[in-house]
């Protein structure tokens, strides 16, 4: 088994039905909620032996790392910057979003190799957003820090592009 970097397919479906709230928005009335608050997103680490990928629909502790200092479910994602979008032409453009701070797991011991992080929406039933892989790591009485890519059209953590 292996983990694969991907935007989760179910996430794309949830976007079409307003199932995630990454930033501020004012909506025409849908019957009740017109100014929804942002959802809380979390980041959980997964073992190299796990299987998280585009098919992952929701966070599950199966295959998640465990060890001293690490709480199941991972840590909250800092989300101070709303999604943005840029048009590249009359027919193409990119919407993008990146957490506004690094993910830092401090004072942990994670003895079994891990190589991926699952971003998920803990406000909306732990629905999956995306999987990001990296070279396999372990941590011993130390800190694991995951610094985010530049929040831009070609590098952001999440990018939805038309071509």
């Amino acid at each position: 088994m292996a983990n694969t970097q991907a935007m989760c397919t179910s996430f794309l479906e949830k976007l079409l039905v307003g199932g995630h709230q990454f930033g501020a928005v004012t909506l025409a009335s849908r019957g009740s909620l017109t100014v929804p608050t942002k959802d809380t997103f979390k980041a959980a680490l997964f073992l190299a032996s796990a299987t998280v990928n585009a098919s992952t629909a929701a966070y599950s502790a199966s295959g998640e790392v465990s060890g001293a200092g690490y709480a199941a479910g991972g840590i909250a994602v800092t989300n101070a910057v709303d999604p943005a979008s840029t048009n590249a032409s009359a027919t193409a453009g990119t919407a993008y979003w990146t957490p506004s701070a690094s993910l830092s797991y401090t004072s942990v011991t994670l003895a079994t190799a891990f190589d991926s992080v699952l971003i998920y929406n803990s406000t909306q039933g732990n629905t999956a957003v995306s999987v990001h892989t990296f070279g396999s790591q372990t941590v011993t009485a130390g800190t694991f820090t995951l610094t985010m890519p530049t929040n831009a059209t070609t590098t952001a953590l999440l990018r939805l592009a038309t071509t």
């Binding site: 990001h132 990296f134 070279g135 011993t140 009485a141 130390g142 694991f144 820090t145 995951l146």
Partner: protein, 63 residues
């Protein structure tokens, strides 16, 4: 400098330090280890992702 280890805080001067890095198109990763008499007592890693996950969105055309 004190280092948090599996044996509590220890003076870095009493430990063997090992460092390394990986750099490719996807990530730049650095790691540091401290060893005591052949035993790993501290390891930290810092992964800097260079690029996230893309998804293509397509609008159907009515030819």
């Amino acid at each position: 400098m004190l280092i948090n280890t599996t044996k509590g805080d220890m003076d870095a001067a009493t430990l063997e330090k090992r460092e390394g890095f990986v750099d490719n198109a996807h990530e730049h990763t650095t790691w540091v280890e401290y060893w005591l008499a052949g035993e790993l007592v501290h390891r930290s890693a810092h992964v800097h992702l260079k690029i996230g996950a893309p998804a293509e969105v397509t609008a159907a055309l009515f030819a």
